[in-house]
Symmetry: C2
């Protein structure tokens, strides 16, 4: 590379997103990039010329290792949707002016569906205007809902955390209840795609039955049928544990969490903010069956728990970052790096690049035949798919009993 | 020992309670106990003659290692309060009949304040009736609120999990918010004692500022002052993270979680069930300041996250179990094993036994001078106290990407 590289992070953070950043940095440096800039808070910060020179933050090889083990977006994230090109050409001109000033040869954006939309629009604009900067997307999302890639970096670590925590919750639940029966409802992230909720089945093993039922958002949720199934389970066992997606909806399209209250909160991308699904169901079941219930939201830690990340995931995230820089260096633009699974057992997976136009805004859902007929569990196909992605651990660098992370850029914390 | 030993677990489980069980089992076997029985669901199960022979479950040395790494009460727990002796002598007679039948020489009960009450009453009854069985309590509680012991097994692992998760949440929060300001309120367990909430300060280090404020339940909570402090912080930084105890109360003694709704749920020991404190404050702050807010409950995983336990804690829990058997074997009864800290640096800690009458139902709170003057943080004394307790890790035995636990006794799961 002769010019400079700029990299940004966008959307919900993950435990692996900084490993991709480390991969971008290392590969760009190895390929001769003079400067590797990091946008602060993605494209939104770049518009205000907020960026850092990553060499000032990753000064040693140990720093790069710490970065791989640091959760959340090191550079700060954003949820900023670029307008269509024809709606605001000035905005695009401003971005490209900044890219010119920084002599950017490659622009790498690490993110999910919304971020790939940014890559698509910027690469389109560059092609229209004959601008030489190349734009490559680097997949990232715990939701695993990106099209064309076998899976997304970030998903494996989240799945491992969910499987582990679910198993611990099941132990906790078994030991608590003696006679009357206890129903524990665990709410897992995933608005429309059930990849994360399905991963709760990973708790299953010789030493654990796993959750009793798993409800994905892909299928309509029948609350009366749910109640009856819980009731039947309580006749056989004292503790019933159910994993549900935050996004489950009734057959008429109403979110279950909206059955109880009327909060209706929409983010910058027009996504409804959901929460309280487990709490609603716990109070519903308590009222209907008269047993004890509790609601547990796995919440933010699903994406932030770097202390429990998957080695396969962290390594793949790093590779994907490197592959993005390589693709840009070799002349690609308007592409996203994807993971291509070659085999399940032994697990083998490589990277490729694909046209970002085929990916952006297209949500990959759990196939119907990976969910049991009655819609209350995932199948063995699902488990065979996810199991390779949670293998191996990344030991946190422990200092004084707590995992050490790479120091947050000062600019991120202050006003 | 010539007779048999019976051991039970009671109260809220922890990540270390089974390490104490392993210590009881190993030491009892080493000292010649013929049988080591485990009560299922504590004294409540024993009353229905529900128990297992632990030799059928811990058959190899690997099993014992797995048991140390298995969260929640392996034997099942209960929240069962014995009546006063004069209120129901028949009940006591029934218990002692079962103990006679099983030829129990030593009765070990692993639990918190309520469990020590059980040890007190049973040992009193044995003394009154001249019964030879000896009763020893083994401290356990994530709450760390037991008197006379420097700290309780279970607390160190919970503190480590809280410090680690808090640090991950702080990273997650920093990266999310760009301009408008985000207030994250993290709810930590601890009804009356702030030991767990104070442990959130462990997130602090060269690489992390730690939470911005910490509110313990020992001090009255002033919601208007809280709002003003959050407002002032938001002028300096975009992300404000606050740790609060679930049990914080206003000056007139009202739980903060009750300000919003009227749920008033009491458990078998007369403790109010609390939750929703963070949710209430998040919606209050959003309304008052107009910034984004989010509420995170660390919930059950605080006590169940064996995957992140402290080596010091797991080892001490094991020692305390062994010391309980030793004390009983040497003729003690009506005692609890306590941890006696000899020095902070290097950390040294031994076990002793103390009269359970001095312990039962006496809650140890965080001293006022371990909280800052303005009541919004813990002091260095607090941090020096807790830091040795979170040192070292216990590698989970990973099988196929997920921690392996010792198989739950079948009797615990089924009706």
């Amino acid at each position: 590379m002769k010019g400079n590289v700029i990299v940004g992070q966008s959307g919900g953070p993950t435990a692996a997103i900084n490993s991709s950043l480390a991969g971008v940095y290392r590969t760009a440096k190895d390929r001769g990039a003079k400067k590797v800039y990091g946008m602060l808070h993605g494209i939104q910060g770049l518009l205000e010329e907020k960026y850092i020179d990553l060499s000032n933050h990753i000064t040693t090889e140990l720093d790069a290792e710490l970065l791989k083990r640091t959760p959340a977006a090191f550079l700060g994230s954003c949820r900023y949707k670029l307008p269509e090109i024809h709606e605001d050409r000035e905005l695009y001109d401003r971005i490209f002016e900044i890219l010119n000033k920084l002599e950017i040869e490659a622009f790498i954006y690490i993110g999910g569906n919304d971020s790939m939309d940014t890559i698509k629009k910027l690469s389109d604009y560059a092609i229209i205007t004959g601008h030489p900067t190349r734009f490559i997307g680097c997949p990232k999302t715990i939701d695993n809902d990106l099209a064309l890639t076998d899976h997304t970096p970030g998903y494996g670590s989240a799945a491992k955390y969910i499987g582990t925590s679910m198993k611990e919750i099941i132990r906790d639940s078994f030991c608590l209840e003696y006679s009357k029966g206890l129903v524990t409802i665990v709410e897992v992230m995933g608005r429309n795609a059930g990849w994360l909720t399905g991963a709760s089945a990973l708790a299953q093993g010789e030493d654990c039955e796993g959750p009793d039922m798993i409800y994905l958002p892909e299928l309509p949720f029948d609350i009366v049928d749910f109640r009856d199934r819980v009731k039947a389970l309580l006749e056989k066992k004292t503790s019933v544990v159910v994993a549900i997606s935050e996004g489950i909806c009734t057959a008429d399209g109403k979110y279950v969490c909206e059955l109880g209250n009327s909060v209706d909160f929409v983010d910058a991308f027009g996504h409804k903010q959901l929460s309280g699904t487990a709490a609603y169901l716990a109070s519903y079941i308590a009222g209907e069956i008269g047993c004890k219930t509790r609601a547990i939201e796995l919440s933010t830690l699903q994406r932030a728990a770097a202390h429990s990340s998957s080695r396969v995931d962290i390594l793949e995230a790093y590779q994907v970052g490197g592959a993005a820089v390589k693709a840009a260096d070799e002349g690609d633009t308007g592409k996203m790096v994807v993971l291509q699974r070659l085999s399940d057992d032994p697990y083998q997976c490589g990277t490729e690049v694909k046209d970002v136009h085929k990916i952006a805004n297209d949500e990959k859902l759990v196939p119907r035949n990976w969910v049991s007929k009655d819609g209350t569990y995932v199948t063995n196909e699902f488990i065979s798919y996810v199991k390779p992605l949670i293998q191996g651990d990344v030991s946190p660098v422990m200092v004084d009993g707590i995992p050490r992370h790479l120091l947050t850029p000062k600019e991120l914390c202050e006003r």
